[in-house]
Symmetry: C2
């Protein structure tokens, strides 16, 4: 299959980890006979330095023409530490999400047996955890009408949803559940909120088209407890923007391996894949950054291309690197392996069909 992939390495360790992800994609392409074309474009601090704009029009053009976007990370202390800075690297990503209408954020949470001692949860609680959060990303209270009274003594925010907004992410979540363990949990607060009741009615109605998927419901306060108490009960979790923000961040810490977590932001015409970690400028160029989150975001990109076996092979290669201890020093102190050695190992394993 022929695919055009926009590479937006960004700042800090972004270029290094994206480089390892591309190594792995190349290994997969040659093993499975695909043709991946990469077009690199600047975003973030490096784009500000070059053009004054964290998301230059030319970068947006590259993204529009690509089948998918592989993103590194953005942020640079030069801008973070300057409160008078008018443009900030982070605006590049926010505008990109908005311009490309990326309305669904997907965050897998998986407990690797090799890393279980690093989880803040007791080992028997976190063992077997493997779920994915589908968070609505462009609606709800974060984007609703804001109001401040003239005397500045009252303020409000509106949480508004339409059934159409709910249906488009709902279909993606049901489709994901069909390919996984066939369980979808809608998180809402339908006992109190009108917008949550709209979510519940709409998703219940949608569920009739997915008879194989078991649909259940959880109030958001209970969900915040269950993620700590019994995270392995979940398969696909679907929720609105703010609940998803809170729960996906809570979920990101329970597996004890934030350096391994990838995410996808999906719209109708394209999708963006990135590690959830930041740009760690202090690690830049030292060959110590963990490339696994970026490599796993490449695996999500393969899933998005419906290259299910290819994604599985790449994930198995990552597991193998953890099993054999071929990891960067954030996972095993004193490890002799750097960013590129870990990337080489995973790419070799993923590309080897013997």
């Amino acid at each position: 299959m022929k695919k055009k992939i926009a590479l937006l390495p960004g700042d800090g360790i972004g270029p290094e980890v994206v480089n390892e992800a591309v190594k792995c994609l190349d290994a997969i392409a040659s093993r499975f006979g695909h043709d991946f074309e990469y077009i690199e474009a600047p975003v973030g601090a490096i784009a500000i330095d070059q053009t004054g704009n964290p998301l230059p029009e030319s970068t947006l053009e590259v993204c529009r023409e690509a089948d998918a976007i592989l993103f590194g990370s953005i942020g640079d202390p030069k801008y973070d530490d300057d409160p008078t800075a008018k443009v900030r690297p982070e605006q590049g990503l926010l505008r990109l999400r908005k311009e490309m209408q990326l309305y669904t954020n997907i965050r897998p949470v998986e407990a690797y047996p090799e890393l279980i001692d690093q989880s803040p949860l007791k080992n028997d609680r976190i063992a077997g955890t493997d779920f994915v959060i589908y968070r609505e990303l462009t609606g709800g209270i974060y984007f609703g009408e804001k109001w401040l009274s003239e005397d500045q003594e009252s303020a409000s925010d509106l949480c508004l949803y339409t059934a159409d907004e709910i249906r488009r992410i709902g279909h993606l979540a049901f489709q994901a559940a069909e390919k996984r363990r066939k369980k979808l949990t809608l998180v809402d607060k339908a006992n109190v909120l009108e917008s949550s009741r709209l979510w519940r009615r709409t998703i219940t109605e949608l569920g009739k088209a997915y008879p194989d998927v078991q649909l259940d419901f959880l109030f958001v306060d209970n969900a915040a407890m269950q993620i700590v108490l019994n995270p392995s009960q979940f398969d696909v979790v679907l929720t609105e923007n703010m609940f998803g923000d809170i729960l996906s961040d809570e979920g990101s810490v329970i597996a004890g391996s934030i350096g391994l977590l990838a995410s996808a932001s999906v719209g109708d015409s394209t999708a963006l894949f990135e590690p959830i970690h930041g740009s760690f400028p202090q690690a830049k160029g030292l060959n110590i950054a963990n490339p696994v989150a970026s490599i796993l975001s490449a695996a999500m990109l393969l899933d998005h291309f419906n290259m299910t076996e290819e994604a599985l092979v790449l994930r198995q290669a990552v597991s193998q690197s953890l099993k054999q201890g071929v990891v960067t020093s954030d996972l095993k102190s004193g490890s002799p392996f750097g960013t590129s050695e870990v990337g080489d190992f995973i790419a070799d394993f993923a590309g080897d069909d013997s």
Copy 2:
């Protein structure tokens, strides 16, 4: 000191656990020379059975005349399992909170060394945790204007706050921090929400009157992570209604002892103290219910009366029962101690000034 306490034991195990809390209050009263007068009144299912109303006017009257309310628990399967029931036991508590204008919910989260193995968190993560959440209880999105479009395809909820609503709970939270470790963390989403920015401005302004208290800020998504990653960093956490709902439920599970957790709901004229657990009708009358949450809610009631030493003595007695293993079987399977034996032990220890 002379104080009038309304007793609302309610349903299920409520009467049994409130009975043990009263034992402890009596022991404290006799040791410190106080005079506690109790007036009992029905609420919940038992009140429906007797009067058809989960919160009879006579009960409300008792509460209005009392200095504080000691509440048990409500709920009965006879009503829960009947979807056609027009009155429900739970309405009794909701109406009571509203009628008495109880605008602040207080939830302590404390890790007892003896129970640390039962926490879902690894022992070194939970050790030393001792914080309290101040949650605004009568404003925000749960009470804001709700809207559903005529075609039922759009719905919204409004999150509205006034500075006055924020100030009254803010003062309580700062005062609590002054008596504790002098740290107050405001949880909001001020990078996105106008109402959160009102919270941040108002609390920052209020903080000038409490120069001893160190005030810091955390976004709600980060707070959801920090409660799992490093719960011992918190002292007093202050937040709005919905964030408080989510975080206090998340907080309630990390200590591994939900049967031990108490809460207070405070207004300008009175305050209500209750365990956070439910009415467990299946345990009713078996002398197996854990009375500690009810006893700790009595300790919060003593705090509310500014009986600081008395509250401390009662909490030390609870710690002693845990240390000596005088606990109900939910905490130690096969324990020979029942509800009344545990209550006796704690009351004896609290009343003993030798």
